[in-house]
Symmetry: C2
């Protein structure tokens, strides 16, 4: 995979230029795109910017508005649709010096109907969704950085399936203005890259928060909570192996491993994700459903058929449970420095017909807390399995620093 | 002014038809539009819908996406801009049977540079802003209902200046998807109509929350807190007279008037409005500022020049103060059934060069609590002065019911 740190290091040291790095990236995109199908649209050529990310070509999920590339939302309803303005996240990317590599394939409106993208590790396996093109393009070494969005598990899950690092940021850290909404209380931006180290560098530059690019955390004495999210059901054995392996690696480095019970308020908040999303998706896609129902793919159409009765009472109750969950999360996360858990229920599904299951992601999305997944091992089918590092609201700096420390140890052992 | 209740009453009783009501409304729009300048664009003709609001022509602020009318945002940057989809609030309007009367003039991007609209009470006075066209069109009797948005005081202030009733809803009650963002933590939808009674009827239908159209509250024994918002500075004497008059009317009907101290956490939250908005506006309008700075009108351009240095630290602190303010608001509102306060600092400014001051609105917008203004008296220049009724988060039903009771008494006395 391409490394953000290496590229900007070469450019800033004068060993290379942003233009040369972009040209090299362009060659990699051109070489792999026919097999991977990561991009919905691409610019004529990559022009270098100015700033800390000069030379970095970044994929942008195709539900995010761009002023000079169409934004198709993964749907023929938006065929050829050309927004007037760049979304703020795209402006922030460009302000940091990065270039837009292209718009990456998304499932239709970021739901469950598969995108045309293939998993670089196995062309018959799913890359996950909904940020399929972003995860696959990074995993295939086509681009060093990509932007995705998560409403259930649409950043962390495809990253785990494709074997890349990814962060879903704290709610509100990055603006979702100009991102096609599915559920406005849940929709959150995230980044994908080869490593947590790259994520920290890129996110610090994009969010203009230098503290996000600090050094790796000291594991000695660090309290790492472990949750298996029993409320969400079981994971495949490979995920349990990965969770235990990461715990052992951390413990060997001096971390204190703390098994965590899930407070009832968090389990209740987990259950609130569905009614919250149902009501908001019903309204967010009201125009598309009313005027273009037949053009909506089957999984989303069936889902929208079902949520047309989602009413205010269940929505209000879901918002109350979310609020209580966020209150309870302070205590839950306060007991440790970070929490680790499964990033996905297993290896990527062995069919491109399913994008997998977000059950181990939904609670954290609803709580608005930062999650960062790193690849930990390969499962029985040879596909990557990630573990996510999670912390309390606003502690993006902490999950990045801890993930940086852990990924070094995982890498050293592999 | 046109009454929503009267129109839907006539239609449902078979005394009139939705088509006939819309035709009558169209005549009133045509007659007054040259003088008032409320509309940025209008459809070819008004087609009747089906539902509880059939026959109601509703103005839609021109920062709200519409699929069959351009959405100009009050700016030449969006001249001729045609969104693909209706915003969810427009879909909800239509689902309730209402018709879009047209797009109402907004200040550019809902900031402070005046719209071309005139105050129906005095052509040389400001209609307020930013929802200028919505307030003026209702006040001029052109339409019975209009939609506006409030980030500081952009619903309640123009309503007070124009002498109409208006509600800024609880944050999240109505979806802001498809509404051009200025500050996504603050932007909130509201309705304007001739009376609180009309607002309850319309909001119940649009939000599909029948409880919002309950009868007037019983004033006997009702606890009404009074706040003068000392943290925001002084109001004109006419506003103080209006506040006292409404208190006396309520007390005569048996309400208990409770002078309220403002907790320090609320005064601190008031101060957090500016840094919160500054950071978000900087990002929300990043594309327009970067690519079309010269086309941005002077007040907004100067504001955006100033907020380019708005950074993450002051933003994070503002979010913390907002959160603490919302916690403190529970106790503040818990002491009474509703709170009343000035809706604006005085009568409408006597120049169309200023849209007035949102200082008595900003705290409530930031707290996300419902506010409803009703006209209470005329000031020394013969212009209307409103008082707003405020309650805790989610108590939209309460402010409507109390406002309905109070407006009857104000009307009986006038």
């Amino acid at each position: 995979m391409l490394s953000v740190r290496d590229i900007v290091g070469r450019v800033s040291a004068g060993k290379s230029t942003a233009e040369a790095e972009l040209a090299a990236t362009q060659e990699r995109i051109d070489a792999r795109e026919p097999a991977i199908q990561a991009f919905a649209s691409r610019p004529e050529g990559l022009r270098a910017g100015t700033g800390p990310l000069a030379g970095i070509a970044c994929g942008v999920k195709d539900i995010i508005d761009t002023a000079d590339l169409p934004t198709r939302m993964g749907s023929p309803i938006y065929e050829g649709w050309q927004p007037r303005a760049d979304a703020p996240i795209v402006m922030a990317l460009k302000a940091a010096g990065a270039s837009v590599a292209g718009k990456t394939h998304t499932t239709a409106f970021a739901f469950l109907d598969p995108a045309p993208t293939h998993n670089p590790h196995d062309a018959t396996a799913s890359p996950g969704g909904s940020s399929a093109g972003s995860a696959a393009a990074v995993a295939a070494g086509m681009i060093p950085l990509a932007i995705g969005t998560q409403t259930g598990g649409s950043v962390i899950r495809p990253a785990s399936y494709c074997g890349v690092a990814a962060i879903k940021t704290s709610y509100g850290l990055l603006p979702t203005v100009g991102v096609k909404p599915f559920s406005w209380s849940l929709d959150t931006l995230g980044l994908m890259a080869a490593s947590a180290d790259d994520l920290g560098l890129a996110l610090a530059a994009i969010a203009q928060r230098p503290e996000l690019d600090a050094g790796p955390a000291t594991l000695q004495g660090l309290r790492i909570g472990v949750t298996r999210q029993d409320f969400a059901g079981a994971a495949e054995p490979a995920c349990e192996t990965a969770l235990q392996r990461l715990s052992e690696i951390a413990a060997a480095a001096g971390a204190v491993i703390v098994p965590l019970e899930t407070p009832a308020a968090l389990a209740a908040a987990y259950e609130a994700h569905a009614p919250l999303q149902d009501y908001e998706a019903r309204h967010a896609l009201a125009w598309e459903y009313r005027h273009h129902r037949e053009a909506i793919p089957p999984k989303l159409r069936s889902y929208l058929d079902g949520v047309q009765s989602a009413g205010a009472a269940s929505y209000d109750e879901a918002r109350r449970l979310s609020r209580r969950g966020r209150d309870a999360a302070r205590g839950f996360f306060g007991a440790c420095d970070v929490v680790i858990s499964y990033a996905a229920p297993g290896e990527a599904p062995d069919t491109i017909g399913s994008t997998g299951d977000s059950k181990f992601n939904r609670l954290w999305t609803l709580l608005g807390v930062p999650c960062l997944t790193i690849p930990v091992l390969q499962g029985p089918r040879g596909l990557p399995v990630g573990i996510q590092i999670i912390a309390g609201f606003g502690a993006d700096e902490v999950v990045i620093a801890v993930a940086k420390a852990l990924e070094r140890l995982v890498g050293a052992e592999a």
